[in-house]
């Protein structure tokens, strides 16, 4: 469904953030992108919806080459790609409901959005999503009154109300505590399964990625150095992605937790 072909990004400073990425994401697949800071994870997902302009290659979503689109067509293509951000990126001074409904901006005209007169179907869907993530009672609270975990749930609703085919998720748990991190990852992967959504999740917590995601791609210096299932991610592979470090504890911990979860189920 999504193909990246030789996707390249060189910043004006000469930094080669992406060096010819080739990647195929089939419909409905959730994929975790791991790698050290500065490996190009964030740049890669931003090059797909062109918040960052790629300098070469192609990103093809359902046969449409996103890198070639003019501004109108790009807007329409962005509706198909929901994005979830590291620091939640909610508009702080708007209410929860306004933030969720802002996911429909690509579908409604200016005056409707300016007057906050959204179609009833959008409003209903917003309520349904807020209910699904357990925040229905918060609908009219201002976004800056919410806790981190709650904000990220609103961010998820905002991405999903776009009715996207693909979710681009940038470090969803980086500012959250371990328990909330797991809840958010579980929520994202569950919602993707429910809706048959594909997702690319940037994440620097390897253990968390292994716990929830069936396919892991490792990025180093803008190149893919690993692509496989979580249990193929050995200590040697982690060293290749991140550099020399004692990885045994990380991997062991994950296996321990995996069995815990299986036992619980």
């Amino acid at each position: 469904m999504l193909q990246l072909e030789k996707l390249t990004k060189t910043y004006k400073t000469g930094d080669k953030a992406l060096q010819g990425i080739d990647l195929e994401v089939p419909s409905g697949q959730v994929l975790a992108l791991i790698g050290p800071s500065g490996a190009g994870k964030s740049t890669m997902i931003r090059c797909i919806n062109r918040l960052v302009e790629p300098t070469g290659g192609a990103a093809i979503l359902d046969g449409v080459n996103l890198t070639r689109l003019g501004s109108g067509a790009l807007r329409r293509a962005r509706r198909e790609m929901g994005m979830i951000f590291q620091e939640y990126a909610l508009v702080e001074r708007l209410t929860v409901m306004e933030n969720v409904l802002s996911g429909r901006l690509g579908y409604v005209g200016f005056w409707r959005s300016f007057l906050r007169r959204y179609p009833q179907s959008d409003v209903d869907e917003a309520f349904r999503l807020l209910d699904r993530v357990g925040l229905l009672h918060m609908a009219d609270k201002r976004a800056d009154e919410l806790s981190g975990g709650q904000r990220q749930r609103v961010g998820i609703c905002r991405a999903l109300i776009q009715q996207p085919k693909l979710l681009l998720v940038d470090e969803p748990t980086a500012s959250l505590d371990p328990k909330t991190s797991r809840q958010i990852m579980r929520l994202i992967t569950e919602l993707c399964r429910e809706r048959g959504l594909a997702a690319i999740i940037n994440i620097h917590d390897v253990a968390l990625a292994q716990m929830f995601v069936p396919r892991i791609v490792g990025l180093r210096f803008g190149e893919i150095v690993f692509d496989g299932p979580p249990d193929a991610l050995t200590s040697e592979k982690l060293t290749e992605i991140y550099g020399e470090e004692d990885w045994e504890a990380t991997i062991e911990k994950v296996e321990g937790e995996d069995t815990d979860i299986e036992a619980a189920e």
Partner: protein
């Protein structure tokens, strides 16, 4: 190795490094500045005899504040005040409405370069020309009266508000705006959802402050014939009616303080 370095440093005392590292340059600048200050003060000529003579008049002026005369010229004061208020409100509304698009255009992070250059140019012109100079020019064109004052204040509001609004937009949180863009919003929707909520409190605060400034300026503009309470004040001075002048000044101070209080309340509400 590193231990020997540490041993050298222990017990050595620590001072924040000087802003200017070169001691000769640093002391040169300090001594030079002090010398200039002394020289500058010494060049100011004071005619002490004149000051002594003038103390009397100054005293009269200040004493008149103890018996301000609101009554004798009540009609003039009232119509002047009303004219000033009308001028202030009209100029502020028009000025703020024009400032918003120019402020958007003058923010480098949202405007394309040609628009940015034009809008920054407008801001620079408006800020370079002092209100009094603009008022003298506009009085020459439109004649005496509040129209010239209204236009002057609108023009000055544009320079002030556009610049500060643009700076607030430039320092906004990029990610919030990015999130709105990622949803496929149009440009106008992006401004309305991603930018406006971030700058609104500051825009309201600055607008209130500008209304305050415009009212005070309207008292000055009268001195060059641009109408308002300033014209009444000028007439009172010309007739040596210090008690009426004192009444007018007290009214101006009162209104400015009321505006200050009001803007405090409003700013607290829009946070």
């Amino acid at each position: 190795m590193s231990h020997r370095e540490l041993d050298d440093m222990l017990g050595k005392g620590w001072r924040k490094p000087h802003f200017i590292a070169n001691p000769a340059l640093r002391w040169g600048l300090i001594v030079g500045f002090a010398a200039y200050l002394v020289a500058a003060v010494m060049t100011i000529e004071v005619d002490w005899a004149r000051v002594y003579a003038g103390l009397d008049r100054g005293g009269q002026f200040i004493l008149s504040f103890t018996r301000p005369d609101f009554v004798t010229r009540a009609g003039d004061i009232w119509s002047g005040l009303l004219e000033s208020i009308v001028m202030t409100v009209a100029a502020s509304v028009v000025g703020i409405l024009i400032s918003i698009p120019i402020g958007l255009g003058a923010a480098r992070n949202i405007a394309p370069l040609p628009v940015y250059v034009i809008c920054r140019g407008i801001v620079a012109i408006s800020r370079a020309l002092q209100e009094i100079i603009v008022a003298i020019l506009l009085v020459a064109i439109f004649g005496f009266g509040p129209l010239a004052g209204f236009l002057t204040l609108s023009f000055a509001t544009i320079g002030f508000l556009s610049k500060l609004l643009a700076e607030d937009i430039e320092s906004m949180d990029k990610v919030q705006a990015e999130a709105i863009r990622a949803s496929g919003a149009r440009w106008m929707q992006w401004i309305n959802y991603g930018v406006q909520p971030q700058v609104m409190p500051r825009l309201v605060g600055l607008s209130m402050y500008r209304i305050d400034i415009n009212f005070r300026e309207s008292a000055i503009l009268g001195l060059v014939g641009a109408g308002g309470i300033g014209a009444t004040l000028n007439t009172a001075f010309d007739r040596y009616e210090y008690d009426t002048a004192a009444a007018i000044l007290i009214l101006i101070i009162g209104i400015v303080m009321a505006l200050e209080y009001l803007s405090g309340i409003i700013r607290a509400r829009v946070q």
